[in-house]
């Protein structure tokens, strides 16, 4: 068991772990944001009560729509004022002469349908405008996809390098034990019997190699979560330390063990023929 191959596993796993933590959190954030995606349908200022009713009925007919809530211009102003906090006070001036539109707030069953039905709603009579924040979320998802693809290629490359290094390490052990293996075969040992010690060696290599990465990931994530700077962005909500970090640690351990076992079994394959 050499330092080099444990080092290879360690490096691989630290990067795999960091990447997984990043990916899973980005996904988590995107999913959270996506849940909040809604379409705001602004009603023409000139529309009368009956026409407003008609808009609601039309929207409800669209199959992808999950919920439709009417929000009067007074309610709109209230929520605007409260969302502005201290600065909202100046908007109170408008309470006498509210410039806002009545609105419908529409949510879809599947958030990705927003893009599809928004223009459809826009064509309904007496709809002034349709506002939705889908584009930002869409961009985030697209970014996630890129990141995932690049990361996957990187990880696969790393994993294979680690397997290669391990199989080379174990090949040296095997060369030293070639005679022993030959004699084992001569007296009728099955491949399983011969493989067993090498399987264990690979497993240990992988497990030892994952100790440091797990420590790095656990402490790194802990630090990140405690970091107040992040908390300024209300939309950045990381996956909770517990159980996420433990799940991630298990994944890292499993990948480490997998790399070790695979590497060792690959290296012995050649010697088991004959």
């Amino acid at each position: 068991m050499t330092v080099a191959s444990v080092g290879a596993v360690t490096t691989t796993l630290v990067l795999v772990g960091a990447f997984l933590a990043l990916m899973m959190n980005l996904n988590h954030i995107a999913t959270n944001l996506e849940k909040d995606v809604e379409i705001k349908v602004l009603v023409e200022l000139t529309a009368d009560e009956q026409q407003i009713e008609a808009i609601g009925d039309e929207i409800r007919k669209i199959p992808e729509v999950a919920s439709v809530n009417f929000s009067s211009k007074e309610e709109e102003l209230d929520s605007l004022i409260s969302s502005m906090g201290d600065e909202g006070d100046i908007w109170q001036l408008y309470e006498q002469d509210n410039p806002l539109n009545h609105a419908y707030v529409v949510k879809t069953e599947d958030p990705t349908d927003t893009m599809k039905i928004a223009p459809q709603i826009g064509r309904i009579d007496n709809v002034n405008d349709v506002v939705y924040g889908q584009e930002a979320v869409q961009n985030l998802f697209r970014f996630n996809d890129y990141a995932r693809n690049i990361g996957l290629v990187l990880i696969i490359g790393l994993v294979f390098t680690a397997i290669f290094l391990i199989s080379n390490t174990i090949k040296i052990t095997i060369l030293a034990r070639k005679k022993e293996i030959g004699i084992m075969k001569l007296v009728g040992a099955t491949n399983g019997f011969i493989r067993w010690p090498f399987f264990v060696e690979g497993l240990l290599l992988g497990v030892f190699g994952s100790i440091l990465p797990i420590a790095v990931i656990v402490s790194g994530y802990y630090f990140l979560e405690q970091n107040v700077a992040l908390k300024q962005f209300s939309f950045v909500e990381l996956l909770p330390f517990n159980p996420f970090v433990w799940q991630l640690s298990l994944i890292i351990l499993a990948i480490g063990a997998g790399i070790g076992v695979w590497g060792s079994l690959m290296s012995i394959r050649k010697f088991l023929k004959v």
Binding site: K179, E180, G182, I183, M184, K185, L186, V187, G188, A189, T190, N191, F193, K273, V274
Partner: protein, 228 residues
């Protein structure tokens, strides 16, 4: 019983070592394989325990057709065959006792049986008092006796020896032959490739002569037939 029919062996480098072997060896036989260097004796022997596979022809070992035997089955074939080499093939770091026990551990025999059986074969080859020695502390003849003990510890029906006395002086060779005869008396088939004119002409057994990959002579109680 061993039977080969129309067996050819061409190595991957194009060398044809066996050129159509037909032979039948009964259970309990003792056969010498003789012939010039490079005739194909070792190849003939290696086919019997699947160290090599025939290019053509069929092979029956211990009444089982091994021609198309699956790789997974090979270990079980070898458990019924003991093999002894000119260079002993002992593990240098293990004691005499451990070297022999190794063959039983590999087939997952119980520790109690291992102990009993190893002491039995050590007694047979006369090395009970050297059980704790390592191979380097033994003479060539003693090492070969350990190798024979290991080969028979598993009660094989067939013992194959490729020049077992090739590295030994004449006196020691006679000791080894005596042990092989004892094993043969117990009903084990013995096939032994040798270049020893003295042994073949003194301890009379069946002689199978191979030249250029063909059996050119097969006699009971035969002569060596070549100049030593």
């Amino acid at each position: 019983m061993i039977e080969m029919q129309g067996v050819y062996k061409t190595y991957s480098n194009g060398v044809t070592a066996l050129n159509g072997i037909d032979v039948m060896i009964e259970q309990g036989d003792f056969a010498y394989i003789v012939g010039p260097s490079g005739a194909g004796k070792s190849t003939f022997i290696k086919l019997m325990f699947r160290e090599e596979q025939p290019t053509k022809g069929s092979i029956i070992i211990n009444n089982k057709d091994i021609t198309n035997m699956k790789w997974k089955q090979v270990p079980y074939l070898r458990r019924d065959i003991g093999v002894v080499y000119q260079d002993f093939k002992l593990l240098p770091k293990l004691s005499v006792y451990e070297n022999i026990a190794f063959a039983l551990e590999v087939i997952e025999e119980s520790p109690k049986n291992i102990r009993r059986r190893v002491m039995q074969v050590l007694d047979l080859v006369g090395l009970k008092n050297k059980a704790r020695f390592i191979p380097d502390e033994l003479s060539g003849g003693e090492q070969q006796r350990v190798a024979i003990a290991r080969a028979i510890v598993n009660h094989p029906k067939l013992l194959i020896a490729d020049e077992p006395t090739g590295n030994l002086d004449p006196d020691t060779s006679w000791d080894i032959m005596q042990i092989l005869e004892e094993i043969n008396d117990g009903g084990t088939t013995i096939i032994m490739a040798t270049h020893s004119k003295d042994i073949v002409n003194t301890i009379k057994k069946r002689v199978i002569a191979i030249e250029s990959g063909l059996i050119v002579r097969d006699e009971h109680r035969g002569e060596y037939g070549y100049e030593a």
